[in-house]
Symmetry: none
Subunit: 463 residues, 2 copies
């Protein structure tokens, strides 16, 4: 690569970090109505960043929810176009007491920057912004055309993104979508992700008596909604860790022998996983390894429980209500809408008529998988090898990035998932962080990627 770019990247490090901190300071929590002003401020700050690095065209699109920031550099229509997708919204921060620094006062400790959004996803989309800046600051043009699509509702399920993409296919047309919103398999080990799980998320409300009752006077004869809830939830998995919803596994693809072999080759230690998560031992569906359980098998988790008296001490109450948040992770070729219907039907059938049940579908998205031989993946692999000095590994992830499936379904676009997080990144948890070496090597890899893409392709192949 051109020495001017390398020199520019080297001397810009401090400035790159300072500018990232400006964005990280904005509490753009998308799920809370208290933060709508911050969401707007953050969208404007992101647009300002695009203008500062020299992108001629940038737009803030209003939606019925939070705004979408778009920017582009389309200097040569003959060249391939990359679309970088990211999101400027972040998860809530509670419990705040577990944070070592204010989640919106970015703080560097031991080569990591700690802040809500550091890795998910402000720090990651910023990497590509900075590689484009390096080109535009040292050259008259970019090796490829670039577009940026940075939304503000990823953490609440991107409710307006699909409609936006649907209506703006011309504006968003490109050859490959690049998303950096995942983690590397191991610190310092560049990683390409070729598969993601889908999601369907529910809230279940059970109602028993009209109001909380005295558990002595009424206990034993009045249906306790908390009891119904725990019975329903407990019945959803059997003793082998299999989900008991009829037809749940019908469309689950089995792993290929090559994938199984690749999984086994990864530097993964069950003991280390246990140590890192602070658990005594791993659990899960019988007959599968931990990575298979995390990446290639569907699962069902209780995300939240609430009922009755939860304060200090005791209160002899028979609660009027009980609530659970429950979500299922899905794998190819499960369809989140079909699974959602199976779930609702199953629960309603199981629920006794002594209580009322309300099942709310909060959000969902399909699983996704791409061809391991796609040329854009090859270009990304080469770029990462040069940026990090190591051959990348190919992995799947257990989480969901609904937008990946949307791009595939609506625009038939290949997606490269080039993540720069780390296994201990604490996304969605207190003390979220981004490794600074990943940040800087990420910018370098992104710069190589811009070059590799012009060499590797002229047209999009179906994958």
């Amino acid at each position: 690569m051109n020495k001017k770019i390398l020199a520019f990247l080297k001397k810009s490090r401090k400035k790159q970090l300072t500018e990232l901190c400006q964005i990280l300071k904005i509490p753009s929590i998308s799920s809370s109505s208290l933060h709508w002003k911050s969401i707007k401020d953050c969208a404007e700050a992101v647009q300002k960043s695009f203008i500062q690095i020299g992108l001629k065209k940038s737009i803030i699109f209003k939606t019925s929810g939070h705004p979408i920031v778009y920017a582009e550099s389309m200097q040569d229509p003959q060249r391939p176009t990359l679309l970088f997708y990211g999101h400027y919204d972040v998860q809530p921060v509670d419990p705040l007491s577990l944070w070592k620094n204010d989640p919106f006062e970015p703080t560097v400790r031991k080569g990591e920057i700690y802040a809500r959004g550091a890795v998910d996803d402000k720090g990651q989309f910023f990497i590509h912004l900075k590689s484009v800046e390096a080109y535009l600051s040292t050259h008259s043009s970019l090796p490829v055309n670039v577009k940026f699509l940075i939304e503000g509702e990823e953490e609440i399920g991107s409710p307006h993104l699909e409609n936006f993409i649907q209506r703006n296919q011309g504006l968003l047309s490109c050859n490959t979508v690049v998303i950096s919103d995942t983690a590397m398999f191991k610190k310092g080990l560049p990683t390409l992700c070729y598969g993601l799980r889908g999601l369907i998320y529910f809230q279940i409300d059970i109602e028993g008596p009209r109001s909380d009752l005295h558990s002595g006077i009424f206990g034993g004869a009045v249906p306790n909604p908390a009891e119904t809830l725990v019975r329903l939830l407990a019945s959803l998995k059997n003793s082998k860790g299999r989900i008991t919803i009829p037809d749940f596994y019908r469309n689950v693809k089995t792993l290929t022998p090559i994938e199984k072999k690749e999984f086994r080759r990864l530097p993964f230690q069950n003991k280390q996983f246990e140590r890192e998560t602070g658990i005594h031992k791993t659990v899960g569906e019988q007959g599968y390894s931990t990575l298979e359980r995390l990446w290639a098998r569907p699962t069902l988790e209780i995300n939240g429980l609430s009922s009755g008296f939860t304060g200090e001490g005791s209160k002899t109450v028979l609660p009027a209500k009980a609530m659970a948040k429950v979500s299922m992770r899905l794998v190819p070729d499960q369809d989140y809408q079909k699974i959602g219907k199976l779930f609702e039907k199953h629960l309603k059938k199981l629920c006794p008529d002594t209580v009322k049940i309300k099942i709310m579908n909060l959000h969902g998205g399909n699983p996704w998988i791409t061809d391991l031989n796609h040329h854009a993946l090859a270009a990304a692999a080469q770029a990462l090898e040069q940026g990090f000095g190591k051959k990348p590994v190919f992995v799947r992830e257990g989480g969901s990035i609904p937008v990946v499936a949307i791009f595939e379904r609506i625009m038939n676009l290949p997606v490269v998932l080039m993540g720069f997080g780390a296994p201990d990144e604490q996304a969605h948890a207190p003390n979220e962080k981004l490794n600074l070496q990943h940040f800087y090597n990420g910018i370098l890899s992104s710069a190589y990627f811009l070059e590799k893409m012009i060499l590797s392709q002229t047209e999009t192949s179906r994958y």
Copy 2:
């Protein structure tokens, strides 16, 4: 009964009510430090009442909490002695806006007196005070010796009473304890309660991973403490509503045919119970009626649940912790300490070693039952029949009155629970009330009781 007494009671009605109102006006809320002065005032007012009716000995005992008022008339040591227990403290009054009159400005509407403490318990212990007054105003002596123990901390769990009784067994020695702090089964239907359930209350904490984790990235391989909790809780009852803890039912006394028959005879409607609690239908242990389930069968209730994300919307979190409050209502001859140990042992055995479990015993007390053939109960039944003009019913209650078990355990004393409340009395709620017919018939019944006791016994039999 002596006509002088009947005439005295008849002419004193207005004065009895006025004097009750003096006590009801004092806001003796025991849980609030703002009301300590009122508590003291109330204790003094109660002592004054004892002096006024002619009791020669009365003492206010200081405790580390609120004072205990004691008074007695021990004219003839050869005669049996009754100890009346009651409490002059009351529940808080919020929400104040729901009261139709100031809770401390007693108001009569449609034959009911409305005030905080009207039924729980000022109005009820006052009943016995007024029957003693009737005797002492018309005769030189009482048919039996009487003692009054009126405490000021019942609504906060009587923290100093047990110690007081322990230290003052000589002073408190008697043949029978009488407590009027319960409700009649139906308005106008005199009621004797001969059994109460016991209680053992736990908090269960389950710990999984060190911190909340992303349910996509970790779901399927990390033990979810909420899942373990619901599995444990769901397993505690079988499909027939039976508690599955080994040996749990070992000491449960079965209902006698007489009791079963008495329960069936009570004016109880399942439909009305369902309407009043706002439930679709009653539930419970197979093979038992609703009253049997509420009064004579042990039960286990979930009083509270909490884990993970419980706010609005969705958060894809795999929680680090899950908590439940669980209590068991116990019946004769279950022992709350033994049941507590069985519960802990069972849960610890069931809990998989993939998570940590912590079980905290928050409080407990033994069930209580008295022999239906006890002479004091027989005397009370006759007295109530004469006071109300109706044969009393014999009931149990599902809740606990810890002091009952204390008197039995420490002093080996029989207790007569002669309640004058009503099912709609609103104790602990806004618009607490006492039916005036219950009040006056109660005083009459109490006067008859004093006579019946001398006829019915000369010594205490073990029950």
